[in-house]
């Protein structure tokens, strides 16, 4: 080497130059890097809100020059207390993803698009909307969104257009959870005083993957103070690794466990009598209803040993009122089983027996900020149109408890096929990937005369849209004032641009106001986002400038324990729900079977369950290369199967399995683990991207929606996403 005058080092560096030049702009070697934060004059810090999931964590984003570098959490923010998850860090890179849409697009064929101007897009959409409105009426329009910051303005847009059909993802996510709590306590989403609790149970809810940074942080503190936590789940979830005990349960039988705990608390006189006497109604009926649901009975249903159930009841009672069952989200209490609604009611009732409402270490209604409104003298008020939607949400004879504005997202394809919906606007949502049975969803959405998407990449749904009006990425845009950080105090927060938009994209509120003009409803949007935000902040006595400087502001008004108040018809905690009674529905919790069960006589028959991983949200993060790399490195698309069942099928860890049913067929490799109930297989829920325009994620893994029949649960209409039976076999070599 030395003879030729080339050292080994020079050789290596020489050979690496091609690669290095590509990345030199954002890479610093250690020596320059070690001093960079001190010396760099071009480092700028902008507070804003993350868009990795629905939590909208408050973050400070650092830029170096014009390029985004890193982020830190804002310590006072109620939802994240200065922490950020992997998605929050990784999505900073997403702004530079080469898959981004760079201007408005018009679809000219299958997966073929031509760039057009905003003016042309608005004009053509306006024309199409006019035609459809004349022929089919405004009731044939729908809006589908992930309901967050700008949701109120999107509803205003639809109401101005004359349609009540504003949908969210609720029917594939949380619907029963909200309604069950609401009819029982008057509050759809009670919060938890985790930090001060002594004993808490998570039933299928996995806050360590469907991440809640605040709650995780509070558990950490409570654990240090000696509190105990239990995870009840068919599988050993990430949360189970964080709690003191994992109790494995047969999927779909959580209701049996809750009924037996209620039974034990009542039979052994362990409930909080003071609370029950003063603040509740219907205790006697509940006692009667749960009379037969003994721990022995629940053991038969759930597979949880009777002594474990009794001990759970005793531990809860001993710590009450500083004890609770978590209010749930998608897991178990969401849109998973036919009996999920009864389950939510039962969970709420057990919490009632623990008397933990508005108590230290219990459940409470989080403080709310009342934002101001636009001056009606200058800006017209828009009335909400109707108390029911095209899918029957809110209608007395269909789904009376399902709220307008949430609706049944997975009914849209059906309604399109029936010709009841003709035109749709899809915002922050990807129904082609997140709704059951994609083949049918595609068929339905294809029937629409007009589909407009606001996506920033060509997701499955955007790929089918006639027009795409690309919203600026969250790091490039302003949004409306946000109040999601009210955890135990009143907080307001705001999203603002960290960098200038890289491409010809616009903030959603700008798109809405401009589109409104071409749709003939411009007089309903005669304001700017700044007008709107200033009006929102006016009653709070803080300026928009100050909020933008600080990102999040705490307004005090901290939650304090005290006597509970319930916004129910009776003003009390309702063991017997008067709302359900009026609708002739079961008014006290009772056992209900899941819709389907695996065939015990068939070694190939399994229930398919699903759940999140901490580094992914829905189907929207897997195209991010830092996050996909975590999945690849840790082989995280594998499907979990119990060793006994795997043995019977000749499946070894890592083997390829074929999973099929009437709806779909797919392949996945096996993760053979004791951490899963033998009745089911578990499929992580963020994979299976099939849009060819998402180059990082395309074809990686499969989705549970590929196997989910289209169900409408009878009471609320939700999708019952764990009512799936599949055939599992080893894929022949």
């Amino acid at each position: 080497m030395n003879r030729s005058g080339i050292t080994r080092r020079k050789f290596i560096i020489g050979s690496a130059v091609g690669g290095a030049s590509l990345v030199a702009s954002n890479y610093l070697d250690f020596e320059s890097w070690a001093t960079t934060t001190e010396s760099s004059k071009d480092v700028k810090v902008t507070p804003t809100l993350c868009d990795g999931c629905g939590n909208w964590c408050a973050i400070k984003v650092y830029t170096r020059g014009k390029r985004i570098w890193k982020a830190e959490g804002i310590p006072i923010a109620g939802n994240n207390l200065g922490r950020i998850c992997s998605k929050g860090h990784a999505l900073l890179h997403e702004v530079y993803n080469k898959d981004r849409i760079k201007s408005p697009l018009k679809r000219t064929g299958s997966n073929k698009f031509e760039p057009i101007s905003w003016e042309q897009a608005y004009r053509e959409i306006g024309q199409k909307v006019g035609e459809i409105k004349t022929t089919h009426g405004p009731g044939s329009f729908f809006w589908l969104q992930y309901p967050e910051g700008n949701a109120g303005l999107c509803s205003r847009f639809m109401n101005a257009l004359g349609s009540p059909n504003v949908f969210s993802h609720a029917s594939t996510c949380f619907l029963p959870r909200n309604i069950g709590w609401w009819v029982t306590t008057g509050s759809a989403k009670p919060e938890h005083d985790l930090e001060h609790t002594r004993f808490a149970v998570f039933l299928g809810r996995n806050i360590a993957a469907g991440l809640r940074l605040r709650q995780l942080s509070d558990i950490s503190k409570a654990k240090d103070q000696g509190a105990r936590f239990v995870a009840i789940d068919p599988r050993f979830s990430e949360l189970a690794a964080y709690t003191h005990q994992w109790i494995q349960i047969r999927p779909g039988t959580d209701l049996a466990l809750m009924l037996a705990i209620a039974n034990t608390l009542i039979a052994e006189n362990l409930y909080q009598k003071d609370f029950v006497d003063k603040y509740s109604q219907g205790f006697e009926e509940l006692a009667q209803s749960v009379n037969g649901y003994t721990p022995e009975w629940a053991e038969q249903k759930s597979g949880v040993p009777r002594e474990v159930i009794t001990k759970l009841a005793h531990d809860l009672a001993a710590a009450a009122p500083q004890a609770f069952i978590h209010r749930g989200y998608h897991g178990a209490l969401g849109t998973q089983y036919k009996n999920s609604f009864q389950l939510v009611r039962a969970v709420a009732c057990v919490n009632g027996l623990l008397g933990n409402f508005n108590q230290r270490g219990g459940l409470y209604d989080p403080p709310k900020v009342k934002l101001g409104k636009l001056d009606p003298q200058k800006f017209p008020e828009i009335q909400e149109l109707s108390d029911f939607m095209v899918d029957g949400s809110g209608a007395n004879d269909r789904y009376p408890l399902t709220p307008v504005g949430l609706g049944l997202t997975h009914a849209i394809p059906e309604l399109a096929l029936e010709g009841k919906l003709k035109a749709g606007f899809v915002y922050h949502n990807n129904p082609l990937r997140t709704c059951p049975n994609p083949a049918r969803v595609i068929e339905g959405y294809r029937k629409l005369d007009l589909l407009v998407s606001f996506d920033y990449v060509l997701s499955e749904t955007a790929s089918l849209a006639h027009y795409i009006l690309p919203e600026s990425y969250y790091l490039e845009r302003d949004d409306v004032v946000h109040t999601n950080h009210c955890y135990n105090s009143k907080q307001v927060a705001i999203r603002q641009p960290v960098i200038e938009p890289l491409y010809d994209t616009k903030p959603m509120v700008t798109i809405l106001t401009e589109l409104a003009k071409s749709l003939g409803i411009g007089n309903s949007f005669n304001f700017t986002l700044e007008d709107y935000n200033r009006a929102a902040l006016a009653p709070l006595g803080i300026t928009l400038e100050r909020l933008k400087q600080e990102g999040v502001i705490d307004l005090g008004g901290n939650w304090e324990p005290g006597p509970p108040h319930f916004k129910t018809p009776s003003g009390k905690f309702e063991f017997v729900s008067s709302t359900l009674k009026d609708l002739n529905l079961p008014a006290v919790p009772e056992w209900e079977d899941p819709l389907v069960v695996p065939d015990q006589g068939d070694i190939h028959s399994f229930r398919l369950i699903h759940g999140k991983q901490a580094h992914h949200t829905h189907a929207k993060t897997i195209n991010q290369e830092y996050l996909k790399e975590i999945s690849v490195l840790n082989d995280m698309t594998r499907v979990w199967i119990h060793p006994d069942r795997a043995n019977a099928l000749g499946i070894k860890d890592g083997d390829c399995m074929t999973i099929s049913n009437d709806v779909g067929k797919g392949r996945a490799r096996a993760l053979v683990t004791e951490g899963i109930h033998s009745d089911c297989v578990f499929l992580p829920s963020s994979y299976g991207v099939y849009s060819k325009k998402l180059h990082t994620a395309f074809g990686y893994g499969i989705s549970y929606n590929d196997f989910l029949p289209t169900y409408f649960e009878p009471v609320l209409g939700h999708c019952m996403s764990n009512e799936i039976i599949v055939r599992v076999e080893k894929t022949p070599a």
Partner: protein, 180 residues
């Protein structure tokens, strides 16, 4: 001078990989380059089945095998006890990677050198803490001065009996683990 280390409470780790990406951003790493990993450990049969997530990173050994074998002296220990690589003198021979019993070093393909966790020393020198510590949703990591008996890390180690990985190797790591 302080002597910095990290204590890791594995009973609090949920395997979310926030530390990994926070570190990647802080150090401007590519998506497939990382200075920390999470190992999954499965044990037992239900009901005693358990899974633990074990965060791993450079142990910043007092008696660092990587430093001993480095032919150019590129690997060195800073005054604060942080094991670092001088990219100007590293020739990418990978002896250090072979010598590291924990396998906590990676190749920087762009520059043809070896890289590793730097304990975010540039943040620490300004009074901050490493990015993996700040971001952790469950507060798994405790950072501080091992020579100060009143520091949070010294108190944590004293009260929990946290141990380094493979103390039998005599490498004297400055990363400590509480395992139960």
């Amino acid at each position: 001078m302080p002597r910095y280390g990290i204590a890791i409470d594995t009973t609090k780790c949920i395997g979310c990989h926030s530390c990994r990406v926070a570190c990647q951003n802080q150090n401007s790493l590519e998506s497939n380059e990382t200075f920390n990993w999470i190992k999954h450990l499965d044990r037992g049969r239900y009901p005693s089945y358990n899974k633990q997530f074990i965060p791993l990173q450079c142990n910043h050994c007092e008696n660092a095998p990587c430093q001993r074998v480095c032919p150019t002296g590129a690997t060195y220990t800073s005054n604060e006890g942080v094991v670092l690589v001088n990219s100007k003198t590293c020739v990418g021979c990978k002896y250090c990677m072979e010598a590291c019993p924990y396998k906590m070093r990676i190749i920087d393909h762009r520059r043809g050198i070896v890289e590793k966790c730097r304990l975010c020393i540039e943040l620490v020198r300004e009074g901050g803490v490493p990015a993996c510590v700040t971001t952790c949703p469950t507060q798994v990591r405790v950072f501080g001065d091992l020579d100060d008996p009143n520091s949070a890390i010294s108190r944590f180690i004293a009260s929990t009996g946290a141990q380094p990985l493979r103390p039998d190797l005599g490498t004297l790591p400055k990363i400590f683990y509480k395992r139960s």
